[in-house]
């Protein structure tokens, strides 16, 4: 009986058999498993993180792009018979200055807005709010009263006043908000970039004849709060000026954004009885409270300065 022997094994067996395909497989079975597991873990992690993290938003308000950098707002009073040439000179002064630096001007008139019977001087507050709506991309909004001229065309607002380093040098710290002895004082450690509201003090207190506001969420809050009907109906002696003194002293969210700068920076006066007197080179001259005497007094006060700004604008 014969049984078949298994075939004899070669004494020199081939060490390795060449692969059927010469390419090395990238994805082996074992590796595929690991990749699948890692993928699952990754998906789970992403799910965990996106579930809660996805809802994190900051307030999505339009950020001003800086075109124009500054809007100059002047409320023009055409209802109290100021000489036309005076008002034209005021307008022209702003327009020429704005053209030189790429700014915009905005001249609303008294009576444009419904004030609910409050004094006309409140118009400046709502006009500022209107300017924010009209120029959402402006970085700064500068209110300059009608009784003022811009005298130095070479100064740019964003560098002369608002540049953080410059502002930190200028701001008057730890100073009573309402002189001489208010216990509420301006902040001592305020960074220039955090300032949203720049104004000056004259001898009577805070002056709202010329002030700067940085366009943004805070400015909306500030201007709308200032314009609150409850302040308009309260009969503050100096209307919006006193309303502002009130909110600045009672509400730290406003005080913490405010900086008081020397009057010469943006609010020099023609006469020294009320505040710092104008010196050549100052940005602005104001004939403050000329309207208390008469409408013609303003025109008369402005005459000498009109000559000056016209020549300096021509030369610049």
């Amino acid at each position: 009986m014969h049984f078949a022997y298994p075939p004899r094994k070669s004494s020199t067996p081939p060490k390795f058999v060449p692969r059927s395909s010469t390419r090395l497989p990238l994805l082996r079975r074992s590796r595929a498993k690991v990749i699948a597991l890692a993928g699952l873990a990754l998906i789970f992690l992403v799910y965990l993180l996106t579930r809660t993290g996805g809802r994190r938003h900051t307030l999505a308000r339009h950020t001003p792009s800086g075109k124009p950098p500054v809007v100059i707002v002047t409320v023009i009073d055409e209802s109290h018979h100021y000489p036309t040439e005076y008002l034209d000179a005021v307008r022209e002064n702003r327009i020429q200055y704005a053209e030189k630096h790429g700014y915009e001007t905005f001249f609303p008139k008294i009576g444009n807005y419904d004030l609910n019977g409050a004094p006309f001087s409140w118009t400046k507050v709502v006009a500022m709010r209107h300017a924010m709506t009209k120029y959402p991309d402006a970085t700064y909004i500068w209110f300059l009263d009608q009784d003022a001229f811009i005298m130095n065309p070479s100064l740019k607002v964003e560098e002369h006043v608002m540049k953080p380093a410059r502002l930190e040098a200028l701001m008057i710290k730890d100073h009573p908000v309402v002189p001489p002895d208010s216990i509420i004082k301006t902040f001592t450690h305020l960074k220039g970039k955090d300032v949203d509201f720049v104004l000056t003090q004259d001898k009577d207190g805070l002056s709202v004849g010329s002030f700067l506001v940085r366009n943004g969420e805070w400015a909306e809050f500030f201007l709308e709060t200032w314009f609150d009907p409850i302040y308009r109906s309260y009969n503050f002696q100096k209307a919006e000026t006193h309303a502002m003194e009130h909110i600045v002293q009672w509400h730290p969210t406003i005080l913490s954004k405010l900086s008081i700068v020397p009057q010469n920076i943006l609010n020099s006066y023609a006469k020294s009885e009320k505040g710092a007197e104008y010196t050549p080179g100052d940005l602005v001259v104001r004939f403050a409270e000329c309207d208390k005497r008469s409408t013609l007094a303003c025109a008369k006060d402005s005459k000498p300065f009109e000559q000056q700004w016209r020549t300096s604008f021509k030369n610049a």
């Binding site: 070669s10 067996p13 965990l48 993290g53 307030l59 809050f221 309260y234 009130h246 969210t253």
Partner: protein, 459 residues
């Protein structure tokens, strides 16, 4: 040609040794087969067949997977009943021959046996399942779940802080009686349970009348200070939920996230005109305001909502409201109390800070833009006693069929029974949130028992 053995004929004709087939007899055709390694062209029939069967063109003498039995041998044999070899022979005789031994092996031994017979792969799988089960049990029975729900990037409970106003008017105006203490105890316990369950923070604040506020005519504006203090104390908090003392969380199983915040867009109303008991003119139409301020829904993005409250039959209700950490909130808290406004309005302001907020909402576009309203029954259902002039209102009053989240016994201290209402709602909440076992006992067993014996039982 050399043969290792004498050739034998195969039944079909021809020879088993290939070398002998000279003619093509049909049995063994010239095979292209395998010739590589052993250097001889001779192929035995049996080897050839194996070669054809094995994969890859290599010879295989594998004994695996040969047939059904070889493949399933282990499984079959292990599932067969076995005689126990451990039991004593004589005993076995006594108990009866051939009896399956499974029954008298102790449990541990049986388990050991199962484990021994189990394949390695199966063991691994079982281990994974077991581990999963254990981790689930550990997760739900230890504080782990609390920390999970609390962590800001997992459950997010840290983002919510509940402020509970306790001790209203206590200390000065009147002595607290037993009922007042009971109300306070129940209310605090209810919120404590709720916050512990979901990993929120609870801040119980003392609203007792204080000299500080009395002097400044600022009673009831303490809310502002407490919200501010809570924002400072819990730096990770995003939303503050203010709750009055006379409130009760009826459904502790609702998390704030699933109830409100995950679908904020769907729940909130930015436009007050959906329910406007105060007849507030909305939106603003002043031409000097921007688009978002003149739109009835603000910017329409739910992420800009910073204050959420509900309105009852007479306007804003601050018994239960949400406020979010933001610059806007700081401004609101700052402006909320203003001496000039107070001087002019305090005679009309019956509800003090609530009326002050209404006034701000009416006057200020920047406040309206970030305020939203929630349906009252979502966060602030009333019992039938409150706002009852026009009978039951489905927008205002609690309905247990809908399982309302929170009930606020507003105004119960004026002529209603605070403690009675609190007690009833507490019991109702327990009743509605019984676990399945309690339901089985009370809704089925007790009822059947009652039908059979006519006696009520408490199980």
């Amino acid at each position: 040609m050399s043969l290792s053995r004498s050739p034998s004929p195969v039944p079909g004709g021809g020879w088993a040794s290939p070398g002998l087939n000279i003619n093509s007899s049909g049995r063994s055709s010239p095979v292209p087969g395998y010739s590589a390694s052993n250097g001889t062209p001779v192929i035995w029939e049996s080897a050839r067949q194996k070669t054809m069967g094995a994969a890859g063109g290599y010879p295989s003498f594998s004994t695996h997977n040969q047939g059904f039995f070889t493949r399933h041998m282990r499984r079959l044999s292990s599932s067969l009943p076995r005689f126990s070899s451990s039991t004593h022979y004589a005993e076995k005789e006594k108990l009866g021959r051939g009896r399956w031994s499974g029954q008298n092996v102790p449990l541990l031994g049986r388990l050991k046996g199962i484990m021994a017979r189990m394949g390695r792969k199966m063991k691994l799988r079982l281990l994974v399942v077991l581990l999963l089960l254990i981790s689930i049990i550990i997760f739900f029975n230890t504080p782990l779940i609390y920390y999970w729900r609390r962590t800001s990037w997992l459950g997010g409970g840290q983002k919510y802080v509940i402020i509970l106003a306790a001790n209203v008017g206590g200390g000065v105006m009147e002595w607290k009686g037993a009922r007042e203490w009971a109300i306070e105890r129940d209310s605090v316990r209810n919120k404590k349970k709720y916050t512990n369950r979901w990993g929120y923070d609870l801040e119980v604040v003392d609203m007792s009348t204080k000299k500080r506020y009395a002097h400044e005519w600022r009673e009831s504006w303490e809310k502002v200070d407490f919200v501010r203090a809570a924002l400072r104390k819990y730096p990770k908090a995003e939303w503050i939920w203010w709750l009055d003392l006379n409130t009760f969380v009826m459904e502790p199983s609702y998390s704030l996230q699933s109830h409100i915040f995950n679908n904020l867009d769907k729940h909130i109303h930015r436009d007050i005109n959906y329910f406007n008991p105060l007849n507030i003119t909305h939106p603003f139409n002043e031409p000097y305001l921007d688009e978002a301020s003149r739109s009835p829904v603000g910017d329409g993005d739910s992420s800009s909502v910073n204050l959420m409250l509900s309105q009852d039959c007479s306007g804003f209700n601050l018994g239960s409201f949400f406020i979010r950490r933001s610059a806007w909130t700081e401004r609101l808290l700052d402006i909320w109390w203003d001496p000039v406004a107070y001087e002019q309005k305090h005679m009309e302001w019956e509800h003090k800070e609530q009326d002050a907020l209404e006034r701000l909402y009416i006057a200020q576009p920047w406040i309206r833009r970030h305020t939203a309203f929630l349906p009252q029954r979502m966060i602030n259902s009333f019992p039938t006693g409150a706002c009852s002039e026009n009978g039951n209102d489905t927008n205002i009053h609690y309905d247990q069929k809908d399982r309302d989240f929170v009930v606020n016994m507003a105004g119960c201290e004026w002529g209603r029974d605070c403690w009675g209402e609190m007690y009833n709602f507490r019991e109702l909440s327990y009743y509605l949130n019984r676990n399945p076992w309690e339901r089985f006992k009370e809704d089925l067993v007790a009822v059947i028992w009652y039908k059979i014996t006519g006696k009520k039982v408490k199980l």
